[in-house]
Each structure stands twice: as structure tokens, then as C-alpha cells.
């Protein structure tokens, strides 16, 4: 099986949500999908979206599925705000444009909140989408074999004809990236934009990224950025590898400015605690950050760095290599 992968460089993500809206306007803007964000950007640390997804279970415990719980629309996803545009915009008076129902939670509720105390507060942006896992728990949990992984690119899809809305997949996904559509009674998820890919166009989230933070290529394509960053440079890591699903979306972990000491002087310690990053990306994050720092220093000193050139992506088109590698089997 060939596997299409994505690398998201967290040092380039500015949290602008252009990816979120590119996805939403393409796929989830109606018919019971209003609350769904197949791609979203959350602020880390935080509870994320759906609220508390890290503690909602799912994934693998060895070769057994770990139990998981179903996120609730109102409390965990947040009911999308509705507005009375006619009253606010076209009727006399000074009624402001406000949500009809006061919102309690939403996909970007904790934006820029982060953690830590002044002057050592910290946060970073964490874009999340379906990881199109190599060992998908959702697929294993479905009693109807309604979920399948495509041989040609490893994309994980839900057959809408077979799905009966049992939601075992929603509980099983440790990233909570499958959404139950309560209007149609079936579960839905990120398609990795396969209809675009089949026309040679990258995923909407990756193509629209203003920060050039997303690389897309086959993992076994030696010239592709994904292979280079994941297997050669080892600076791109899966999120929560301990969940056991072997994600195929990888992250270049965030570097951070130094902690200020009691006298207000910068120390040598990074602002984002190493423990926190190890929780998210596993122990390999230390080497990855060290490699990044070394290559940055080399480039800053006027030297050459193939890694930096790759991450900078001087040409937008360099981010994407969508043709299957030669010799790769479909």
C-alpha cells in the first residue's frame, strides 16, 4: 500500500484558520455538518476540540481497542452560532449582530489562552485533521466494515452506503476526528480531499495555507518532503504516537523563546516545557528540536541547510508531490 502523508510545520502555523475555512466551505457548511470541523486549529495547551478529546479514550491498547466515549454536540463540540442578519443589518435601531443563543463552547474557544504565567506564558497552534492512520482504530471498531483504507493512497474513508450511525468509530478514534451527523444519522470525516487529489490538486487545507506550513507527498517517495522530514531528517513526528494508530499526519514540533528568570533575564530553557512536548509527540521530540536548532544556527550563520530550504519552501509548488513514487504499487 502506498501512503500519502502530510507534514505540518508548527513553527510556521500562525493560527489564521485559513485551512479551517478552506475545509469548511468545501465540505461541511450545511446539512447537519455545521458543527463539524474536519480540519481545525486549536491552541495548545488546552482542552481542544472536541473539548477534552485527549481524555475521551479510543486508540489501541496493544492489539485491543481501548474504550472511548462519544463527544456531545452542545458541551464538547459547541452548537454553531446562528445570527439574525435581517434584524441587525436591515432594520432600524442599533441592535448588534450577536449569536441568537449564547455560546458555551466552540472549535476555537481557547484561542491564544495557553498556559504559564507572565512573563513566561506560552502556547502554540495545533492544526488537526484525520490522520489517515496506518492502523486505524475506527476501521477496526466498525462492526459493519463500513470504513476502508484505500490501497492506492492509504486514505481512510467511511462508505456512506454502509454506515448505519452506530458510532463505534467515533468512540474508537483517539483523535476524535470522526463526526456523527445527527441530521442524516451517519458518521462522516475528513476525506483527505480525495476528489481534489484525483484531479492533481492538493488538499484544500494544505493548498490554502498562507504560511506554507503543510507538505504533502507519499511517504515512500524518497524525493518527497514527507519522506525527507519524517524518515531522513526525523524532525516530523506523529501526534500522540502512544495511541497506537500510527498517524500519517506529522508535525514539526514548535521551538520557543527562552524562559525569563526571576531577574527578567532570558535563560537557556525553552518556554514550552519539554515534558509537555514529550506528552504530545513522544520522546523523539528532543532529537527533532535539537536538529532544528542546529540547522537554524547553520543557516543563520550563512551556511547551507537542506532541511531549512525544505521547510522554508521557497516555491509554493515545492510543498506538494502528489504523483505516486515510481515503483510504488497502487
Amino acid at each position: 500500500m502506498s501512503q500519502l502523508g502530510m507534514v505540518i510545520d508548527l513553527n510556521k502555523c500562525i493560527g489564521c484558520q485559513t485551512c479551517t475555512l478552506a475545509c469548511k466551505s468545501q465540505w461541511t457548511d450545511r446539512a447537519g455538518r455545521e458543527f463539524m470541523y474536519w480540519n481545525h486549529v486549536e491552541t495548545a495547551p488546552g482542552q481542544g476540540y472536541p473539548r477534552g478529546w485527549r481524555t475521551a479514550g479510543g486508540g489501541w491498547d496493544g492489539d485491543r481497542l481501548r474504550p472511548g466515549r462519544l463527544p456531545r454536540l452542545e458541551e464538547d463540540y459547541g452548537i454553531p452560532a446562528d445570527f439574525d442578519f435581517a434584524a441587525a443589518l436591515f432594520q432600524p435601531g442599533d441592535r448588534p449582530l450577536r449569536p441568537l443563543e449564547a455560546m458555551q463552547w466552540g472549535p476555537n474557544w481557547e484561542e491564544d489562552q495557553g498556559a504559564g504565567d507572565f512573563p513566561n506564558g506560552f502556547f502554540f497552534y495545533l492544526p488537526r485533521l484525520c490522520n489517515h492512520c496506518t492502523h486505524p482504530a475506527c476501521l477496526a471498531a466498525c462492526p459493519r466494515q463500513a470504513i476502508y483504507k484505500r490501497e492506492e493512497d492509504g486514505i481512510v474513508l467511511i462508505d456512506q452506503e454502509r454506515c448505519r450511525g452506530y458510532r463505534y468509530c467515533v468512540a474508537a478514534c483517539p483523535y476524535k476526528k470522526i463526526y456523527f451527523n445527527p441530521l442524516v444519522g451517519r458518521s462522516e470525516k475528513c476525506l483527505f480531499c480525495y476528489p481534489r487529489l484525483e484531479r492533481g490538486i492538493p488538499q484544500a487545507c494544505a493548498y490554502q495555507c498562507v504560511g506554507r506550513a503543510r507538505h504533502v507527498a507519499y511517504l515512500d517517495d524518497p524525493e518527497g518532503a514527507v519522506h525527507q522530514l519524517v524518515q531522513v531528517w526525523r524532525v516530523a513526528l506523529p501526534l500522540h504516537p502512544e495511541y497506537g494508530t500510527q498517524p500519517n499526519v506529522y508535525y514539526v514540533p514548535p521551538l520557543s523563546p527562552p524562559v525569563f528568570d526571576a531577574d527578567g533575564r532570558p535563560s537557556g530553557e525553552p518556554r514550552i516545557p519539554g515534558d509537555y512536548l514529550r506528552q504530545l509527540f513522544g520522546p523523539a521530540v528532543e532529537t527533532a528540536l535539537a536538529t532544528l536548532q542546529a540547522e537554524i544556527a547553520q543557516k543563520a550563520a550563512g551556511g547551507e541547510s537542506a532541511l531549512m530550504d525544505l521547510l522554508i519552501a521557497y516555491r509554493h509548488g515545492d510543498l506538494f508531490r502528489l504523483s505516486r513514487p515510481r515503483g510504488g504499487r497502487p
Binding site: P143, R167, F180, P182
Partner: protein, 336 residues
């Protein structure tokens, strides 16, 4: 088999013409039993009496659960057992459902009453809730019955499934995970919420080839869906034009001695796999309530003939003679 003396007669409804009966119901006219309402057999010693009486009429049965016609239709209590073979089975208590069946003008209606203290309707503003639901499963006649858990490969069953706050749909299945929407005419449903549970009428076209039905209920409050349900054993029904009912006699035969069967169960260590808390084999705590003796004999004598999906193929063929297999089946029939 039940005897004519024991079984109450079918209650004929008004307006029934004898001409309607046709040749297939000759037995009924001769006074043979078509129905066996009343208490559920307590154990394997009693003859297997899983008959659901069907009131026959010329007109289509009513869809309204409160239609007074239902008062004249015999009531049969049917126990629904927690599905123990599903990985996500509900456990808990046996559910007491009551069924009334009426047939007329090519249509069968089932009026089902079952307790369910909480009303769980389909909720279009929730992602974590499940609706109460019920279903009836139909099997054609034959030497044996298909596996009661949604049929088996090559032996399809038809299903009507209703969920609270929604409609009924016609489905077919050939085993776990194979449920498929039927493209044909859909069954009708009308449900009534009482203070303590549901009253549901399901109605649709049913042909005379149908020889048995099984019933199931899901409880939304316990996240009921898929195998997380309670289900009944196959219950024989007799529809106009059906072949004589004796064809399932072998399947229903309870010949063995349950006490000897219990000793065999212990001696061969069956409980090592089929323990009360699960194991490599399906739990058998409700085996006698859900299965027929013929199915149990088959699964002992030829475990490879049909395996419950999700369980590994480790069940050995034990060196048992036919009498011992009867004894084991008789013992398993006492597990309810």
C-alpha cells in the same frame, strides 16, 4: 411437539371466511394446534413450544396500536435476552415483551408491547444519544432455521426495524455486519408511548414462505445499537398458504437428559471457553432462551458449519454419540 390437548385454539377474528384458509391450513381446520400462548416453557423437559399465534382476517390488520381489533388478538409473552455473543452486548435482565400478530389481505401486523422506563427519541441535536428501537426478523421455512443473530451467509433473513421518533425500514441480512436496506416497499409503523414503555405496530407485506419470526429491542438509554440489544428465539408462525408446520419438528426436538448433559458439559470442560464472563467462545448464559435445540446440536456436532462472527475457530468436535449430544443440547436449553 405440542399436543392438540395442550394448545389453545387460534382465536378467529370476525369476518374470516373459511375459503380464505386454503389447502395449507387444512391442519387448522382439523383441530390441530396453531398457537401456543401462555407461559414460557421452564426448561428442556417441556416440549419446545415456540409458536406465535396469528389472528387471520380478510381485511388488512390495523396500524393503530389502540384499534379495538387488537383486543381480540391473542397475546403471547416473549422473553428478550441480552445478546451475549456481541462484543458490546448489553448484559442485564431479560425483557418481557408481549406480541400480538394479525394477518389479512397479504399483510402481517405485529403489535409489540415492552417495558422501557425512559423515552429515547432520535435527537437531531445530539451526537451522543441513541434512540429506542425494535425490530422483527423473518425466516423462511426449511429443515432448519438460520442463525437467530441476523441470519448467516447464504441464509438471509428479512428485518423490519423501527426507531423511536423515526420510521420503520425494511432490511435484509446474511450475518453480522451485513444488514442492507431493502429497496422494495417499506413496512409501516406506528408507536405509542405509555407511562412505562412502548406499544408499537409494525405492518407490511409478508409471504407464506415465512415460517418464523424473532424480535429484538434496543434501549437508547444504554446506548443500544447494533448488537447492544435484547432478542428472542425464533418463534414459529403459520401464515395462510404455508406448508404444514411439522417441518421444524427435528429442529424443535428436545430428547436428552439435561442432568446428564450438565455432567458432560463439566467433564469436557466446556466452561473453560464458554464461561459466564466470556472467553474464546460465546457466553452461553442465555443459550436456551435464544437458541433452538437443533441449532445447539448442530453447533456441538459440527461447530464449523456456522461460527458466530468474531469468535475464533478453536471449538473442537468432541467424541460424543448422538444421545450425548442430545443430553448436552438439553442441558444448554435450560440456560436462560
Amino acid at each position: 411437539m405440542s399436543t392438540p390437548r395442550k394448545a389453545p385454539r387460534r382465536r378467529w377474528t370476525r369476518g374470516l371466511g373459511r375459503a380464505l384458509l386454503g389447502a395449507g391450513l387444512g391442519l387448522a381446520a382439523a383441530g390441530a394446534p396453531l398457537t401456543a400462548p401462555g407461559p414460557i416453557p421452564a426448561g428442556a423437559e417441556a416440549p419446545l413450544d415456540r409458536w406465535l399465534p396469528v389472528a387471520l382476517a380478510e381485511t388488512a390488520p390495523p396500524i393503530d396500536p389502540l384499534d379495538p381489533i387488537w383486543d381480540a388478538v391473542p397475546v403471547t409473552p416473549i422473553p428478550l435476552y441480552p445478546q451475549a455473543t456481541a462484543p458490546d452486548g448489553p448484559g442485564g435482565a431479560v425483557l418481557a415483551l408481549e406480541a400480538r400478530l394479525r394477518w389479512g389481505d397479504g399483510q402481517l401486523a405485529l403489535r409489540l408491547t415492552w417495558p422501557d422506563p425512559t423515552e429515547d427519541l432520535v435527537d437531531r441535536r445530539a451526537t451522543h444519544r441513541f434512540a429506542d428501537a425494535a425490530a422483527v426478523q423473518f425466516a423462511p421455512g426449511g429443515e432448519t432455521l438460520p442463525y437467530v443473530g441476523m441470519g448467516e451467509p447464504g441464509r438471509p433473513v428479512a428485518i423490519w426495524r423501527w426507531h423511536a421518533g423515526g420510521t420503520a425500514e425494511g432490511l435484509s441480512a446474511q450475518g453480522f455486519g451485513s444488514l442492507t436496506r431493502d429497496p422494495g416497499p417499506q413496512p409501516e409503523s406506528r408507536a405509542l408511548r405509555t407511562g412505562t414503555g412502548w406499544v408499537l405496530v409494525l405492518r407490511g407485506a409478508v409471504g407464506p414462505e415465512i415460517a418464523a419470526v424473532a424480535l429484538a429491542a434496543w434501549d437508547g438509554v444504554e446506548d443500544g445499537r447494533a448488537g447492544r440489544k435484547r432478542l428472542s428465539a425464533w418463534q414459529r408462525i403459520d401464515l395462510p398458504g404455508a406448508e404444514p408446520r411439522g417441518r421444524l419438528a427435528v429442529e424443535a426436538k428436545t430428547a436428552g437428559d439435561p442432568a446428564r448433559g450438565g455432567q458432560l458439559f463439566a467433564r469436557h470442560g466446556c466452561g473453560a471457553c464458554h464461561g459466564p464472563y466470556g472467553g474464546p467462545g460465546p457466553q452461553l448464559i442465555h443459550a436456551g432462551g435464544i437458541h433452538w435445540p437443533g441449532y445447539l446440536r448442530r453447533s456441538i456436532a459440527a461447530p464449523e458449519s456456522f461460527r458466530v462472527p468474531g469468535f475464533s475457530a478453536v471449538m473442537p468436535v468432541l467424541p460424543l454419540n448422538p444421545g450425548e449430544i442430545d443430553d448436552l443440547a438439553a442441558y444448554l436449553m435450560t440456560l436462560r
